[in-house]
């Protein structure tokens, strides 16, 4: 097991390398630079700025230097948000994104599996249809439609909750964004759990349990263990995506998460900030994929990693 974790860890490094290289050169090949203002800067000032940030060097040298700094954990200074290093900006944004993301994941897991299990147990009843209908709607209606609708309903019409803002993570401010983030995930998880629950309930070992006269609760628990597997593999990349910030939700609700920093950074050609965000997101994605693989090995005895 340990050696598997270790090997899995090693394969993540080349992937991370590809991410860094690809995004570094993608950005640099593009026209425009971080100091292109509407009124062009004086040539001398431009030259000095370029020199100060090391942009006057050949591209390959900049690349190697960036890699070197990255290995030492230095993400460099932000080009656009002056006086801040990228690490500082990300440190401000990450807690916001992580709070929202982890709450959304928890809610999605809880409600998704419960709804899915109930629907699977009562296949082809009104309850089942209600869950399937909700799940289809949850998957289809995009979050940039749901979010403003919620703002109208709960923020303006009913005036129960604030329309946006972070307010140091006050519960009232967090509720709407978390629900908007969680809804599609609840839908997907419910759909998956339902499908695999139906399959699991038809399997031989469950029939054996039934014939032994065990109660529904025991049977559900046994079936759920098999049924949860696809959900686990789905949650890996989703968790990473949610934790690192849903760009839309952060934009609509005006939350200072890293998704928003990324878009702003990209629009302002803030090379280091964009790179920093991509690296952090990639690390999250890789990390969660690894966790999923390990969980899989623990949950499914047929999977062995030797």
């Amino acid at each position: 097991m340990l050696s598997f974790v270790f090997r899995r860890f090693l394969t993540a490094i080349p992937t991370l390398f590809v991410v860094v290289t690809l995004s570094f050169f993608l950005m640099r090949v593009a026209p425009g630079g971080p100091f292109d203002l509407e009124q062009p800067l004086e040539a001398k000032i431009m030259e000095n700025l370029q020199k100060a940030y090391g942009l006057d060097r050949p591209l390959w040298e900049q690349y190697l230097r960036y890699l070197g700094n990255l290995v030492r954990g230095d993400l460099g200074p932000s080009f656009y948000i002056r006086d801040f290093s990228v690490a500082e900006i990300l440190m401000q944004g990450l807690p916001v994104s992580i709070t929202l993301g982890s709450l959304a994941i928890l809610i999605a897991l809880l409600f998704g599996t419960v709804f899915g299990t109930i629907a699977g147990l009562k296949q082809n009843t009104p309850t089942d249809y209600a869950v399937v209908g909700f799940a289809t709607a949850g998957v289809t209606i995009p979050n940039f439609v749901v979010a403003p609708l919620f703002q109208i309903i709960f923020g303006l019409t009913l005036a129960w909750l604030p329309v946006g803002g972070w307010n140091d993570g006050a519960i009232r401010n967090v509720i709407l964004p978390v629900i908007v983030l969680a809804l599609p995930q609840i839908a997907v998880v419910a759909r998956m759990t339902r499908a695999s629950m139906i399959e699991a309930l038809r399997s031989d070992h469950i029939r054996t349990l039934r014939s032994l006269g065990l109660g529904t609760r025991v049977i559900v628990l046994h079936a759920l263990r098999g049924a949860i597997l696809p959900v686990v593999s789905y949650l890996g990349p989703t968790a990473a995506a949610l934790l690192t910030g849903s760009v839309v939700v952060e934009t609509i609700f005006g939350l200072p998460g890293i998704g928003r920093y990324f878009v702003e950074g990209a629009l302002n050609r803030d090379y280091t900030l964009v790179m920093g965000t991509v690296v952090v997101v990639a690390i999250f994605v890789l990390f969660f994929n690894m966790i999923v693989d390990i969980l899989y090995a623990l949950l499914d005895p047929r999977v062995r990693y030797d």
């Binding site: 995004s23 993608l26 026209p31 289809t140 209606i141 439609v145 403003p148 995506a241 990209a266």
Partner: protein
Amino acid sequence: MTEPSATVMQGRSLWADARDRLRRNRAAMTSLIVLGIITLACLLGPALTGHPYDRVYPDYVKVAASVTAHPTPDKIVPAIERVASRLRAKAEDIRVEGDIARLKLVAPRAIDERSLAFFERSDLFHAAKVLAREDEGKVMRIEVPIQRLHFWFGTDGNGRDLFTRTLIAGRVSLAIGLLATFVAILIGVTYGAVAGYVGGRTDTLMMRAVDVLYSLPFIFFVIMLVVFFGRNFVLMFLAVGAVEWLDMARIVRGQTLSLKRREFVQAADALGVGPGGILARHIIPNTLGPVVVYTTLLVPKVILLESFLSFLGLGVQEPMTSWGVLISDGARNIQGASYLLIFPAIFLTTTLFCLNFIGDGLRDALDPRDR
């Protein structure tokens, strides 16, 4: 001895079976019809609404959605007074009869007939007609036809007809959806079929590359692509298509692996057909079932991704528009003008719903085991 029956047993192809199963799926058939209507409306509608999609009506900014024609009766008189004061006259004795308003213009000096063009310039009236002149031209009796306009969905913050814009946006969204899906399918099918058919180390390497690409934060890459390389239409669907081909490649590779051991492929090989010929003639056509299903499910994903980019202001640019652009515009105006959000949102979600139902229906029809 009886004659052998003249009727020949008609074989049923996979596609005929699938078509029958699809016809019995009510959700999928309804979706097909609704989607057809939306597509037709988007294609033909903009020519029929009577408003160009980029025509600005300065007098009708953020008019709410309604079925009655504009201008509303209570707006006519103040509008006439406004125009009259522009041409330095006072409007008196205003009578509105049906689509024509008759009035008397009174000015301290003689009224220049050319200044009546102010009426035509307003969005509310057509060209005014002089009926009579009195008092050396200081008093003028005129007749002004009222321009009746319909804004079924209201107008946006610039005074453009939302109905026309929603339909035009639908064109763009659907076009991007189809084109980007086409790009994704093209890359995915070729890549997957080649990897599966060649096999061995090439296969391992190619699929390893797909694994690596899978773990990239794609949304971020798309945003970077679009931001750094300018926001144009072609790049947009290339970027989206280049992102979405990964699943396709995996599906097709799996199919190819099982297909290439089948007798008809081996027979073709033995007869000397080259690998390119086998791929094009035997492998790819036989992967069509899953490809079709996945395509219908991919189109809504792509439309969603495009809307998402447009929502962030990274997609289609003004005055062109797409559902994502309209929704983002609506989201900024939820206070007071929520219809700006609701109509495009209804169109987008209906389309997505239909495509999902059709995709699910096709999957059930082509792969009945899963039901």
